[in-house]
Structure formats: C-alpha cells, structure tokens
C-alpha cells in the first residue's frame, strides 16, 4: 500500500472506531442515567462499613473504601509473593526429579504434573479449603509441641499465624503453579545441547557437579521467560481467593460493587491494580535476567 492510501485508510478507520465507541458510550450514558448511577469516584472516601477478617494494616469498617481497597491489594501481594516463593521451590525440585536418572521419581512426578495440570485450579482450591482445612476432625490435624499447629483455624508456626483461607489459597496456588514451573524447568534443562552433557562426562566430572556447575548455569536464561509468564499467571490466578473467602483485591472489589453498584469504576481500579502488580513482577524478573546475563559475560 502506498503512503497516501495508508493515511487515508487510518483516517477512515479512526472515524469508524470513534463512531462505534460513540455509540457504546451513548448507550452507557443512557443506561447509567436510567439506573441513576453515573460515573464518579467520590464514593472512594466514604466509609466502607464492611469488616475484613484479614488485614495486615489497621482497618475498621469506618475506614474509607479507598483504604479497604489498599488493604485488599496488600493482601493480594502477600499471597502472591509467598506462593510465588513456595511454588518456585516445589516446582524446581519436581522439575529436577522429572529429568533425573531415578525412574521412580520420574514416573511419580510425571503423574503429579498431569493430575495437577489437567484439573481446574478452582476445584483444587476448594479441595484444599473444604476438604483440607474445614473438615479436619477434632479441629486439630497436627500439633507438635505448640510449635507447628495445623487445625481448622489455619496454620500456626512459631507464633506466625496463617488463617485457613490464606493457607488453603497458598497451598492450592503453589501446588498448581509448581506443576507448570516444573515444566518450565524441564524445558530449560532440555534446551541445553546434548553435547554439553557428553562434554562434562568425558572430562570425568561427576554427575552431580556436572549438573549443577555445567548444565544449570546454561539453562538459567531459558528459565526466565517461562518463569515470568508463570508468575504473571499466578498473580492473576490469585483472584480465585474469592472461592475460599480470602479478602484479596478482587474480593473487595466484588463486595464494593454489591454495595454501591459502581461496576465501571471498580473495573478501572482492578485493571490498574493488576497493571501495577504485573509491572512489579516483570520489572523484578527483568532485573534477575539482567544479572544472570551480566554474570555470564
């Protein structure tokens, strides 16, 4: 296409799009005035008047909606970071076992991966919550000298108390993501050319040393993009918290919409909270990627 044609086409397209969005916005305005809602954000400073079971910062129902949303965002961040760490540990271990020499572990990890990947996360979460925590008989599952205490109220470890909602979400998310991370790890290790394994073997380097000193450093850069996308997925999946009653950012948005009916404003707020979360994850992973690249030169 020639340049003039392109510009002409873009102008036509722009007018078509403007017309289309115009119709949509017109409909929206008609619908909003009909239901007498409108589009504003001043409700954010009004008191929320609902209580939150879990808050890392001081919160009471008389605090504003904005503050409640922030608490929810912090709650999201808390569960995302902790399950991100746990999932990485489990996933790396499973990924190593999956490519290892031990046939027993190879088969069991393959079974684990297919079961976890081919069933919905939501069902896994509900399983952890309703079966794992809420139906613990005699209300206590495990109690080791009051250091580790697992009951239907959650997990208590050295005075650190995790509610049953948080624990179910943490376990469910970590186990689910670990299966995907294991596949990333496996793919990364298998991306190292076979000649590298033959090379260290021919030099008489032991299997263990060769694996950790020769293979893993070369596989590291291949891990990063896969891990980043899994972490982003994990962050998005954390919104299923609403199924187990954990008050994350999405659950609080949901409550607010039920109270105030402000769907569009809440959608925009949610969008921005997730843009910030995604940006955080990609930035941190970018820094890690850069430091790996730098250490290789």
């Amino acid at each position: 296409m020639s340049k003039n044609k392109k510009i002409f086409f873009q102008i036509v397209l722009m007018f078509a799009l403007l017309g289309f969005t115009g119709i949509l916005i017109n409909n929206l305005i008609i619908n909003l005035t009909r239901t007498d809602i409108g589009f504003k954000f001043n409700w954010l400073i009004k008191p929320a008047s609902f209580s939150l079971a879990e808050h890392s910062l001081p919160y009471s129902p008389s605090d504003s909606y904005a503050w409640a949303l922030f608490i929810g965002w912090i709650n999201s961040l808390k569960v995302i970071i902790s399950s991100l760490i746990l999932a990485t540990c489990i996933g790396t271990l499973i990924g190593f076992l999956r490519v290892g020499k031990n046939s027993f572990f190879r088969i069991t990890t393959a079974g684990f991966i297919t079961i976890v990947r081919q069933t919905p996360l939501l069902i896994q979460l509900m399983c952890w919550y309703f079966v794992g925590f809420l139906s613990i008989r005699n209300n206590t599952f495990l109690n080791i000298r009051n250091i580790l205490n697992i009951s239907n109220k959650g997990i208590e470890f050295f005075g650190l108390y995790l509610s049953s909602e948080f624990s179910a979400l943490l376990l469910g998310l970590s186990i689910f993501s670990s299966a995907f991370i294991a596949e990333v790890i496996r793919g990364g290790i298998q991306s190292v050319p076979l000649g590298q394994w033959e090379a260290y073997r021919s030099l008489g380097i032991s299997e263990k040393q060769g694996f950790f000193k020769i293979i893993i450093p070369q596989a590291l850069p291949a891990f990063i993009p896969g891990l980043t996308s899994q972490y982003l997925n994990l962050a998005k999946n954390s919104t299923l918290a609403i199924a187990v009653g954990y008050s994350d950012i999405y659950a609080i948005n949901d409550t607010i919409i039920n109270q105030t009916g402000r769907a569009i404003e809440c959608f925009i707020i949610l969008l921005f909270s997730f843009l910030i979360l995604n940006l955080l994850i990609t930035k941190v992973m970018g820094i890690i990627d850069k430091s790996i690249m730098r250490s290789r030169i």
Partner: protein, 342 residues
C-alpha cells in the same frame, strides 16, 4: 540336601544384601519410596471402595444435563455422541484424504448443531438457557468460545504485525490489557458491563454473556501464540511467495497462517485446555455448569459434607476431558510432523 539349602539361603541373603546396600544408597531409597507409594495407593483404593458414592451415582443426570427437561435429554446426549464419534475419528480414524480435509468442517459444524439441539426451534421444543446446565453447558461454553476466539485471535495477531500504525497500536493495546486482567474479573465484568453498553431493549442472556467474555479473553492469548508462530517462519518463505507474485493477502492466507498455526498448535491447545478448566469459574458467578451443579448438589442436606467424593469425581471428569484434548492435539501434531517434517 542340607548343604544345598544353606547354599540357597546364603545366596538369597547375598542378593538381598546387595540390593539393599551395595548398589549405593539410591536403591534403598527407591525401595522405601516404592513401599510408601504402594501403601498409599492401597489405602486410597480401599477408601474408594469403602466410601459411599451415592452422591455421584444418584445424581449422574444432574452432572450431565443440569436441569434440562428430562424428556428432552436425548438432545444433549445425541450431541455428546456426535462429539465422541468425531473425536474417535480424529484420533483413530482412517487416513482418507477427503475425510481429513473435511474433518475441520465437521468439528466446526458440531457447534451450531449443539446450539440447535440445546436451544430447540425448527421442530424441537425451545429450552431456555437457564435450564441448560452440567457438563452440557461446560462443553457448550468451551466449544463456542473456541470457535469464536480462534479466528479473532488470528486476526488480532495479523493486526499486531500490520504496518499500519493505528491498527497495530490498537490491537497491541487490546491484547496487552486483556492479558493483564484476571479471567474472573473479565467474566464478572462481562456479566455486569455488557448490558450497560447495549441499547435499551436489547438483552443478551447470561450464558451468551459468558461466551462473549471467554472469547474476548482467550482470543488475546491465542493471538500472542499465533504471533509467536508467525515470527518463527523464516523470512525467505515470504520472499519466495512474493517472487511468485502473490499479494499480501494471499501470502497471509496460503503461506503464513497455516505454518504459524502448526507451530502454535501446542500452545493453543494449552490455552483451550485452560479454557475448558476455567469454565468452572462461572460457578462463582452463579451459572449451573459442571461445578455449579455440583455445588448445588453439595448444598442438598442429603449429601452435605461429602466434599471429597464430589471433588474427586469432578477432578476425574475434568482430567479425562483435558487429557483427551491434549491427546487429540498431539495426534494432529504428529500427523503434521510425520508428513511434512517441519
């Protein structure tokens, strides 16, 4: 005799000793793990046989069809049968060329057929969407969303590579925003916001709103997978096509898209498996698909607290379907790879 016996004994002892000790600690570890897993499997099996599966067996109808009218249930059943046979033909069917070429149209055709069978009209009694449910609804939402999101995904991927500034920016913006938002939010706001953008008097019911939301969401992901496929095609393919006088449109249709789809097939399959699993999120929003029906069964006083049985049953159903989808895609991929050796 005595001598022989003692010889045998020492031999056995030696063997056991060698097994447990000499061949390093790994064999021993293996042995322990093996014993543990055998006992776990055994425990699990005895639990399965011991526990009461009435919560599953007496509600099979509900799991499959939801509250679909009983004397019309042959309709979804017939649809399942068609789907099953076309799946079997795809995996194990004969390799006739005309069959392979028309199989795609067969798959596409199952979707309108399913909608017709469920919805009724043209000789069949109409069944309202609120009566659709169970596995039927899960499969319907999945198949409709797949059918709509694949072409939209391809189009978005092409737009994102377009040389026209506005088109490229707009599709990039759409894809990036959709990929940043959690699915549950898209579904929830799809239910709330779609009616707000429609003119007064036009309404779309909940099932179709869900399908629209799924389509909007999944097509962004598929677009990225296809874009990856497009990028993997060597530049000289385009040059060869250009030198034959093909125009841009023809190059896209005949050269780029088929090859990109082949490369992106595993990734797209994963998206579609994810889509099938994620239809369960609609239960949070009150739709009576497979998980939604199960939750209402669990709320029935007769079956209260039987979470484990229901969840294990559900997990196996989902697992079976997802594994079948993965198998179909793998078969397709193998056929392409063997024939065409990409």
């Amino acid at each position: 005799m005595n001598n022989l016996n003692s010889n045998l004994n020492t031999n056995l002892f030696k063997k056991l000793k060698r097994f447990l000790l000499s061949k390093s600690k790994y064999n021993f570890l293996n042995f322990i793990c093996f014993v543990i897993s055998i006992s776990l499997t055994f425990n699990f099996l005895t639990w399965i046989f011991k526990s009461n599966w009435k919560v599953v067996t007496s509600n099979l109808n509900l799991y499959a069809f939801g509250s679909f009218p009983i004397n019309e249930q042959w309709r979804p059943l017939f649809w399942f049968f068609i789907l099953l046979s076309i799946t079997l033909i795809t995996i194990y069917g004969p390799k006739w060329n005309w069959l392979r070429k028309n199989l795609l149209f067969g798959w596409i055709g199952t979707v309108p057929l399913g909608i017709y069978l469920l919805n009724g009209g043209f000789g069949l009694d109409t069944v309202m969407t609120r009566n659709w449910g169970g596995l039927t609804l899960t499969i319907l939402i999945t198949s409709c969303s797949i059918l709509f999101s694949l072409p939209i995904g391809i189009l978005l991927a092409l737009c994102r590579r377009s040389s026209i500034f506005l088109i490229q920016k707009l599709s990039s913006f759409y894809i990036d925003v959709m990929r940043a938002v959690p699915l549950i939010a898209v579904l929830f706001f799809g239910q709330l916001l779609i009616p707000l953008f429609l003119p007064v008097g036009i309404e779309i019911d909940r099932v179709w709103r869900a399908i629209i939301a799924f389509t909007l969401f999944v097509s962004a992901y598929i677009a990225e997978d296809i874009r990856g496929g497009l990028q993997s095609i060597p530049k000289n393919q385009i040059e060869a096509a250009k030198s034959l006088g093909l125009n841009k449109f023809q190059i896209n249709i005949f050269i780029l898209i088929p090859q990109a789809l082949r490369v992106a097939l595993p990734a797209i399959t994963n998206q579609l498996i994810g889509l099938f699993q994620n239809t369960s999120l609609m239960s949070i929003l009150g739709l009576m698909e497979l998980l939604g029906v199960s939750r209402s069964i669990l709320a029935n006083p007769e079956f209260i607290g039987q979470y484990i049985e229901v969840y294990i049953w559900l997990a196996s159903v989902y697992w079976l379907f997802c594994t079948t989808m993965a198998l179909v895609s793998k078969k397709l991929e193998q056929k392409m790879t063997i024939n065409k050796g990409f």
